[in-house]
């Protein structure tokens, strides 16, 4: 008897232990995800967006203190030609890159194995007052007479607000997320604007107007459509919608923000319909009867009583729809054309954060700057959806009592 009770208790404890363990594993998994994401993502900051071996040097009389990635790109693109534009003297910038050494020096000067290159670079920088030189660290000699100027490190604000995303640009990567954030928001916004009225009308029709029989057919089938993989919706968008948009709007490519928004709207519809319909049906019959008994028409009752009563459920549907749309990857990747530019028209290609991650992670080398930048994008995405979830938890849920 005693032994039996002991064994029973032991068994209870063991089982409870196992259950606790799996709960703990789950919690740890969540925390791990956050840690990994942010550890890699934060790595992008406080680091210059240039390969580690490269350095940037000027003549020692030059007073320019620091350059930003953007400025360097503009210099390379010829948009900035004068030192004065960078806070220096009124001279034009003379660019020096190791790739074109042969234009500055002859082969004899450099030596057969470029053994004199470091020295030549040094001389050149000392001689040319207006030089801006890019070269490999290993070419720095003992008596280097130029001044190495630091490239500005990537700050959070630059990362968020710079308007160019070109992580593979040479010599400095352009890591401005703004076009991607705006692209994501644009596509999501239009998608919700399209899906909301359609979805709400359908939900109201199903909950209030349709006969029970029609409803009993519509409801499960629409729920089913919520389960269709996004890649299938993307494929449909690609073979039907994209050519259609190209033809109708007579644009060079059909892969546009509009195509992305429509596909997202189609994908959000089942969610929006199902959740708002559920919540519309929670409106108590007594309220409906009270309204009708006062001479209101069914239509008036819907708008004045039933919809306001279910507004928190409908808000929940919208919020969930937005959350899904922001994070949707494959479908958007397949139909938006993925041009990383600040969106200016729905009839032009644009690019979203998730699509960028999916498209570029394969080519980014593990642990490199690009890789980390993609994780930083993942962090932004995570934060966006986290905020949406918080709104949902604290604003929508309590009202549902």
């Amino acid at each position: 008897m005693q032994v039996n009770r002991f064994l029973k208790n032991l068994k209870e404890k063991i089982i409870e232990g196992i259950l606790t363990l799996s709960g703990t594993i789950t919690s740890i998994a969540v925390i791990l995800i956050i840690i990994f994401l942010f550890k890699e993502g934060i790595g992008v900051f406080n680091q210059a967006p240039m390969e580690k071996e490269l350095i940037l040097a000027v003549n020692k009389d030059n007073h320019v203190k620091e350059l930003t990635p953007r400025q360097i790109k503009d210099i390379f693109d010829g948009k900035i030609a004068m030192w004065s534009e960078l806070g220096g003297s009124k001279d034009s910038i003379k660019l020096f890159r190791t790739e074109d050494v042969s234009t500055y020096f002859t082969e004899e000067e450099l030596g057969a194995n470029f053994e004199h290159l470091p020295q030549k670079i040094n001389e050149y920088i000392a001689r040319e007052k207006n030089v801006l030189a890019f070269f490999n660290k290993k070419y720095i000699t003992k008596g280097f007479s130029g001044r190495i100027i630091p490239l500005k490190k990537i700050g959070v604000m630059d990362f968020l607000l710079d308007n160019e995303w070109f992580p593979t640009a040479q010599p400095v990567a352009q890591l401005g997320v703004l076009p991607l954030i705006l692209g994501t928001l644009w596509v999501t916004l239009l998608a919700i604007l399209l899906a909301l009225p359609l979805g709400l009308a359908t939900a109201i029709y199903m909950a209030e107007i349709a006969s029970p029989k029609i409803r009993s057919i519509l409801k499960p089938t629409i729920e089913l459509l919520a389960g269709i993989p996004s890649v299938v919706y993307g494929f449909f968008g690609l073979v039907v919608l994209v050519p259609f948009i190209q033809r109708v709007f007579n644009v060079p490519v059909g892969e546009t923000g509009l195509a992305g928004s429509i596909v997202l709207a189609i994908m959000a519809l089942p969610t929006i319909i199902t959740i708002s319909e559920d919540s519309l049906r929670t409106a108590p019959r007594q309220l409906k009867e009270a309204s009708l008994a006062l001479g209101a028409s069914h239509w008036q009752t819907i708008w004045r009583v039933i919809v306001p009563y279910s507004s928190s459920g409908i808000t929940a549907a919208i919020i969930l729809g937005v959350g899904r749309a922001i994070g949707e990857t494959m479908a958007v990747l397949m139909v938006t054309g993925n041009a990383a530019v600040i969106p200016h028209s729905y009839l032009a290609p644009l690019r979203t954060i998730p699509a960028t991650i999916a498209a570029e992670l394969g080519e980014a080398s593990y642990g490199g700057l690009h890789f980390k930048a993609l994780f930083a994008l993942g962090c932004i995405l995570f934060i966006m959806t986290f905020i949406i979830n918080l709104i949902f938890e604290f604003i929508v849920k309590p009202k549902k009592h």
Binding site: I25, F382, T385
Partner: protein
């Protein structure tokens, strides 16, 4: 009669209602037509591709001909692997959260975390899976890494379904069982779980449907572009249906020529979702009927 204007806005109201209802009926018709149009389109275009050979043979000719057998097997492996991981842990976590853990900050915190996890985009899971499983733990691109990533994605859904299933079991069952001297686990396993089981089980079936169609999490953890042989171990790469569809419709060797294959693949994916939904429906109905009698 009433002091309000005798006719009032009666006619206007009626007309508004007729117009409004008409408009809503039309909108619903439109929405349903679009949604079903997609299904119909894929069925219509995909059916010709659906032959026995298509399902059982390897891709040929730069994936413009032949079948999708390796992708079907690959997706099967991933579904199996992810469920082997996520289902036990998910169900056990759900039981722990609902039956053992007392209400308090810890429970609220974990619940909030799982809810949050459920809202995290699948591509973020892909990122994480790549960083942890593929690189940190050195699983490489493998079934193991892909399954774990997909499993994590399914975890919050399974936990939530389990919790909801358990919550819908009336407390009086628990109290009655505990009052008879049954232990906590006896109560859970003999009284609560049997009642909650059908709902948990349908949840499992539905997450199979969902997991099999996920693309973003497997992009960088397992999916192979072209690999016409079957995996030998959990450290092998595999092809997978959703990724295959993505590849041959966007960057295949000859996109136009692979269209038929793409339609066929899309149809297979839809069929998996359909099948899991129908199966879940059957299970639900079977158990409701059984419980009634």
């Amino acid at each position: 009669m009433s002091a309000l204007t005798p006719k009032g806005n009666s006619t206007r109201k009626r007309i508004l209602q007729i117009v409004g209802f008409g408009a809503f009926r039309a909108i619903t018709g439109f929405v349903v037509a679009v949604l079903f149009g997609i299904l119909f389109f894929i069925f219509h275009e995909g059916l010709p591709a659906m032959t026995w050979k298509f399902i059982t043979s390897n891709p040929e000719n730069g994936m413009t001909e032949g079948g999708i057998f390796p992708a079907i097997v690959g997706t099967g492996c991933l579904v199996l692997g992810s469920m082997l991981f996520a289902f036990p842990i998910g169900v056990m976590s759900g039981i722990w959260l609902n039956e053992y853990l007392k209400d308090g900050y810890l429970k609220r915190f974990i619940n909030m975390m799982t809810n949050n996890l459920a809202g995290v985009p699948s591509v973020v899971f892909g990122l994480f899976g790549m960083a942890l499983f593929v690189n940190q733990l050195k699983f490489g691109d493998s079934i193991l890494a892909g399954s774990l990533t997909l499993g994590l994605l399914a975890l919050p859904v399974i936990i939530r379904t389990t919790e909801e299933a358990l919550k819908s079991v009336d407390d009086s069952y628990r109290i009655a069982s505990l009052a008879l001297g049954a232990s906590q686990w006896q109560t859970v396993s003999k009284v609560v779980l049997p009642v909650a089981f059908p709902n948990i089980f349908t949840g499992l079936i539905l997450s199979i449907g969902r997991v099999s169609g996920e693309t973003a999490p497997i992009l960088f953890t397992v999916a192979a572009y072209f690999l016409p042989k079957l995996p030998h171990s959990i450290f092998d790469q595999v092809m997978a249906l959703p990724y295959h569809l993505y590849v041959i419709s966007t960057s295949g060797t000859d996109i136009e020529k692979s269209r038929v294959i793409a339609y066929g693949t899309a149809l297979v994916l839809i069929c998996i979702v359909l099948a899991s939904n129908i199966l879940a429906g059957f299970i639900r109905r079977y158990y409701t009927k059984k419980n009634k009698t």
